[in-house]
């Protein structure tokens, strides 16, 4: 009986530590380095960007496409550039919408399918226009 309780306890504690991974493994190359340097990019607070990012993106898309306003705020290109992860072995970027990558982590959990990336580029394109 005691043995069974011990096994259960070990499993439970193990589970807790498994989720307590230090840092955010899929936060993205540039976003991780910004976080590490102690700077804050989303100055309105993380809860604002987490809740409101669809509205920001929708608003910006109309401003950019229809009115030609090309500022950096709310730019999907900016999201992708910061939040894309690199495969350390091949030095290639993962797509931000790949399984367990930045965009998918939450969207999988809440069952939201996004349609940004059937048209938009999913990896940064550094050094080019």
């Amino acid at each position: 009986m005691y043995r069974l309780v011990t096994v259960l306890m070990v499993l439970l504690v193990g589970n807790v530590f498994a989720h307590g991974h230090p840092g955010h493994p899929n936060l993205g190359e540039e976003a991780s380095s910004i976080k590490a340097s102690g700077k804050i990019f989303h100055t309105d607070g993380l809860s604002v960007i987490r809740m409101m990012h669809p509205e920001f993106l929708n608003h910006k898309r109309d401003k950019t496409l229809r009115e030609g306003v090309r500022t950096k705020e709310g730019s999907l290109k900016g999201c992708v550039n910061c939040h894309a992860n690199k495969d350390k072995k091949t030095n290639q970027y993962y797509s931000v919408n790949d399984k367990d990558q930045f965009c998918s982590t939450c969207h999988q959990k809440v069952s939201v399918s996004v349609d940004c990336f059937s048209c938009h580029r999913t990896t940064p394109r550094k050094g080019t226009k």
């Binding site: 496409l65 229809r66 009115e67 059937s118 938009h120 999913t122």
Partner: protein
């Protein structure tokens, strides 16, 4: 902490305010503020256009314009589309005068009409004209009905038939939407010229603001003979041709 304002202080403050207003009213401050055009919506004070001189333009240069467009916007690499399915934003066209037998080559792309038929027929308002005259497809709203492709007298629009990856980051493209020449709107907004115009070294292709009396395109249009393709449709195209 209350401070009484005596007569002398009051006069000082009000004269300072008057100077401030004068500076803004002079227009210099306002001009500097509006310098970064990308922060402000585009207006109808400008109308972008292009003048193509087919007498000066060689066939090699036209091919160069097509490949510059492909390179800039990332179309032309579709592997699963066949024949007419393949997207074509700009194409080389040969026209022959039956009476004289004279053959002229010209690049044909979206003509960026002032009265675009594609915008008239669009059921979702995806096909749209910017204030500065650039005709675009808002792919967020496009349902892929292809009415605009039927309506366009220039056959300028294409439908994407296959899944795409690795798009240019400034030019999102995707299956199930219609696309066409954007007059390289991302470059124009940065103050550059479209990729096709930039690929031609001579002044055979002139890009600029049709309304600006000091622009090269405006001045050239005043001097040389030019025509709109299917001018009988009264669409008032932004792309004009000379020599056809």
């Amino acid at each position: 902490m209350s401070k009484t304002l005596n007569r002398r202080d009051f006069i000082k403050t009000s004269s300072a305010t008057a100077v401030g207003v004068a500076t803004i009213a002079s227009g210099i401050t306002l001009t500097t503020f509006a310098a970064n055009a990308n922060e402000n919506p585009v207006t109808n004070a400008k109308r972008w256009g292009m003048l193509i001189d087919t007498n000066k333009l060689t066939e090699v240069e036209i091919d160069g314009m097509v490949s510059a467009c492909q390179q800039e916007n990332g179309w032309g690499g579709e592997v699963h589309s066949t024949g007419d399915q393949k997207p074509t934003w700009v194409k080389k066209l040969k026209v022959k005068d039956k009476a004289t037998g004279r053959i002229t080559s010209l690049p044909l792309m979206c003509q960026h009409c002032e009265e675009p038929p594609c915008v008239d027929v669009c059921p979702t308002n995806a096909s749209m004209k910017r204030e500065d005259g650039i005709v675009l497809v808002d792919k967020h709203l496009c349902i892929g009905c292809r009415y605009c492709m039927m309506a366009c007298p220039y056959d300028a629009r294409s439908f994407v038939h296959e899944d795409l990856t690795d798009q240019r980051e400034h030019m999102p493209r995707g299956k199930g939407t219609v696309e066409s020449c954007t007059l390289c709107v991302h470059r124009v907004d940065k103050g550059e010229t479209p990729a096709c115009a930039a690929s031609v070294n001579s002044d055979a292709v002139i890009f600029g603001d049709l309304y600006d009396a000091t622009s090269k395109i405006n001045q050239t249009l005043k001097k040389v003979q030019s025509t709109q393709i299917r001018a009988d449709l009264n669409l008032n195209t932004g792309v004009r041709y000379s020599g056809i």
